[in-house]
């Protein structure tokens, strides 16, 4: 997994590439979210366009980020979830907590 960071106004987009599966990925993602929170960023879009799959530990990584942001009054939303990942979010009912968008503009505007 690699994370690339972009800003659109006060919204931060994290472009994830590869698979998300705990271990090193977990630390990396949590550090990224923590440093965003520390620098006052609270609106985060996680772009999953280039994520082939996520395993259950990877879901935990996303949840940890979601909860950390939530606690500091922020939000984590998902962008471009593939059918495969959507299946996983549905079956685990995580689709009820993760807002998810197909278009980037839509995702960014949803914070206003």
């Amino acid at each position: 997994m690699t994370i690339r960071q972009r800003e659109i106004g006060d919204v931060v987009v994290l472009d994830i590439d590869g698979k998300i599966m705990g271990g090193v990925d977990s630390e990396l993602f949590q550090e990224t979210i923590q440093s965003l929170i520390d620098s006052g960023k609270r609106k985060v879009v996680v772009n999953l366009e280039n994520v082939k799959w996520i395993n259950s530990t990877g879901l935990g990584v996303l949840i940890a980020g979601y909860s950390a942001l939530q606690k500091s009054g922020g939000r984590l939303k998902l962008l471009q979830v593939s059918e495969r990942v959507e299946g996983l979010l549905n079956i685990t009912k995580l689709s009820t907590i993760f807002e998810s968008y197909q278009g980037e503009d839509e995702a960014v505007e949803s914070f206003v």
Partner: protein
């Protein structure tokens, strides 16, 4: 997509980095036995969960331990066995639905996902002490059926 049965065995090091190889392998094997795109994703996701557990909970990332995958196909049925070199465990506590109190937990979804995505999941203890997870999927999608009506087919 003939009816010949076939079994493939793979031995992997206890490293998460090879889960991508597991995905590619299970995907192409399942496609060979005519499963549809969603079914293929589901078999692969369930296998990745079982293999992750084997690497992490059973083999504890040990260099000296391996994970064995056995893929078996016949007709439109695909079966996967995942064997580890751990100490085994009792899977019964995990044979349950996830409640709303579980929603934001960071772990504990693997076995639930396997059960949700497969037609059949069973656990058994190997004589060596490790676990064998057995996954089974019957293809419902009659993949490419209409597709081949006016096409002739070789291998």
């Amino acid at each position: 997509m003939s009816d010949h049965p076939g079994t493939i065995e793979i031995r992997l090091p206890s490293q998460l980095r090879f889960l991508g190889v597991v995905d590619a392998l299970v995907q192409s094997f399942s496609a060979e036995f005519g499963l549809g795109a969603d079914e293929i994703n589901n078999v692969s996701t369930a296998t990745i969960e079982a293999a992750s557990n084997a690497v992490e909970h059973a083999n504890k990332f040990s260099e000296n331990k391996q994970v064995l995958l056995r893929l078996r196909g016949r007709g439109n049925v695909v079966e996967v066995e995942i064997e580890d070199e751990g100490e085994g465990f009792d899977p019964r506590p995990y044979e349950r639905e996830l409640g709303t109190e579980d929603l934001l937990k960071l772990r504990g979804r693997g076995i639930f996902i396997m059960r949700s995505f497969m037609d059949n999941v069973s656990f058994s203890r190997l004589s060596s002490g490790g676990m064998r997870v057995h996954l089974r999927k019957v293809g419902k999608t009659t993949a490419g059926e209409s597709d081949t009506q006016d096409a002739v087919r070789g291998n």
